[in-house]
Symmetry: C2
Subunit: 340 residues, 2 copies
DNA sequence: CTTGTTTGTGAAACCGCTTACATAATTTCT
DNA sequence: AGAAATTATGTAAGCGGTTTCACAAACAAG
């Protein structure tokens, strides 16, 4: 199959120069006379030469690869982030090694070690499920950061060589709740899934908005869904159960578009009119918002912008520059058909 | 940042053996006495040694990496495939280098070359957008296959060192159309997007089923949507336009769940009852099916099974075994709320 | 026409690990 | 007990590049 590969040595012979010279034109480095450069390039062309990436990596101590970790690359929101990052990094000449860890700490640690072993130039953690606020579990991130820069997308952690790019989930949620309240809606159900970094921020935003309005956030106004995120019907069941228990909420504020979609499903099932009798607001402004009727109002956390800044920051760090450790972007509620 | 890394040489000194011996325990190879093995392992443990992947790659000529190419990793269906593959390959000790090419041939070629340059052990093309039946564009795949095994998921190409794992799209679509016809539905709109390998197979299945029933597949029964797949509203507009032209179809057979979702959106907009007045069938049985009400009937092409077989086949090929060049799995229509 | 700089090139060391081959130590067999 | 076979370990030659350093050629200045 693999015929004996042509090496830099073959080129050097063919072009009648030393391997050092070949290496020089390869790296576009300093001083090579135009004549020799052409000779070498011609030899490369003719023999279809491709430098051996491993040898190169060994010498340069990098293979221009970034590790991307996500819990689940098929989650519509995470998938989008991965896609943006991949495109941006490719634009910078980097490739992406993808690691899906699921939601287990053990997998996170293993994947992180693996990426370090493979000598990636940097590691990006996509999604806040990696970072827990008051949790010693974050140690593995610090360990990794001792080796390569670690970028956090939608999570924040103050540690050396760790850079965080986040959207202001707290404020977004606060404002969304506030908006509902200002419309006279007081019985708001906060429907959430993840107790991760951003999950907690969102929750805090909701609670504070309610508190500021003198409303309760006691039993029933918070529902936590544990289970497979894709299981929309099961999530709808949960809401139906709550409703049937007698808690007839006027709005669902979801920490996630998928959860919001399930609220819509629940509403259709019970014949509850959206948005007249029930407002629903999702989070992430993912493609799912367009899949339902009426279309889902959702909080846009400007993922593409976050990814752009993350990439720029990472490139800066790799270039040896001082870079901001934390960057926060404001989110924005996109109003569509599920709010009045 | 990166303190001088500890190498095999340091370990050899610390354990009082030669580097060859260290390398041996590293690779779990042949004959190392238990005593020495322990000494070495201890030294490694103590100094936190990690073998240099580049040097390893240079020596072994592999870094246990598989390249995955997809048009768009954020497409819900492709994302799912990528996820399955990543998990399966990780289980086999391989990592995944992800390349999103968009829908341009130029990008496909560039990504392919890049993966070859990075010396992946194999390349997987996810989705049929890579392969066109009667198209010279496939040349780049053959070139790549001269270097490493190329696996096609949901596409087929008969060439050396190229392996195809596909679902039987032709038959699935034939059967789906047939089922609608048997229910007395004769005006079926085939709504599709891609003219790729599987796209053509699906179309052929639809046409043949119609022909077999003596129905026409002329103007109006085939609608091709060109544009951003995520733009559900725009796709719905197209259908609305067709409808308003006077073509009141009774069913939409979509080549894709996203297209089917847009048909549902169109139906709601026009007040057409699904499934009473309009049947809708999607393709891929993706998570989107659960997001709408009624839930979308869709053709399941058993993606997970395909991925499992693809991975197994690839591992076989890499292990030097003779493996089947083409594997086809039957699909299955999952009936939900959008069909009677 | 020297002398002092550039500029272009080659020789060789090195990156960290694998492995063929040689050798030493041990065991097995007659 | 000595030869043969086996097992354990070390030496050194790659793998295919990069890069330091030395040196020769070309050019500028005195």
């Amino acid at each position: 199959m693999k015929e004996h590969a042509v090496t830099i040595y073959d080129i050097s012979k063919q072009a009648g120069v030393s391997i050092a010279t070949v290496s020089r034109v390869l790296n576009g480095s300093d001083n090579v006379s135009e004549a020799t450069r052409q000779k070498v390039l011609k030899a490369m062309e003719e023999s279809g030469y491709t430098p051996n990436a491993f040898a190169r990596g060994l010498g340069l101590n990098t293979m221009k690869t970034i590790g991307i970790m996500a819990a689940d690359s098929s989650d519509p929101y995470l998938a989008k982030g991965i896609y943006f990052l991949e495109q941006l990094l490719r634009g910078e000449g980097y490739d992406c090694l993808l690691c899906c860890t699921g939601y287990s700490l053990k997998n996170r640690i293993a994947s992180m070690e693996l990426l370090i072993t493979k000598k990636v130039d940097g590691i990006i953690l996509v999604g806040s499920n990696f970072v827990y606020e008051d949790d010693a579990d974050n140690k593995y991130i610090l360990d990794a950061a001792a080796q390569v820069p670690v970028m956090l997308l939608n999570a924040a952690l103050d540690a050396p060589n760790v850079y965080s790019i986040t959207s202001d989930d707290y404020t977004s949620m606060y404002n969304a709740a506030n908006m509902l309240i200002s419309e006279g809606i007081t019985d708001i159900l906060y429907f959430f899934n993840s107790r991760s970094y951003s999950g907690r921020r969102k929750e805090a935003g909701f609670r504070d908005a309610m508190k500021a309005a003198g409303l309760s956030t006691g039993d029933g106004t918070l529902q936590f869904y544990r289970g497979n995120r894709e299981d929309v019907p099961a999530m709808a069941d949960l809401l139906e159960h709550v409703w049937d228990q007698g808690h007839h909420f006027e709005a669902v504020l979801a920490s996630d578009d998928t959860l919001a979609i399930s609220a819509l499903k629940f509403a259709v099932r019970k014949g509850i009119k959206v948005p007249e009798e029930l407002s629903v607001i999702g989070y992430n402004n993912s493609m799912l918002t367009a899949c339902v009727t009426p279309e889902l109002s959702s909080i846009d956390n400007r993922q593409e912008t976050l990814c752009q800044h993350l990439t720029a920051t990472l490139m800066g760090v790799l270039g040896g520059n001082e870079m901001p450790k934390q960057t926060v972007f404001a989110g924005e509620l996109i109003r569509r058909g599920t709010t009045r």
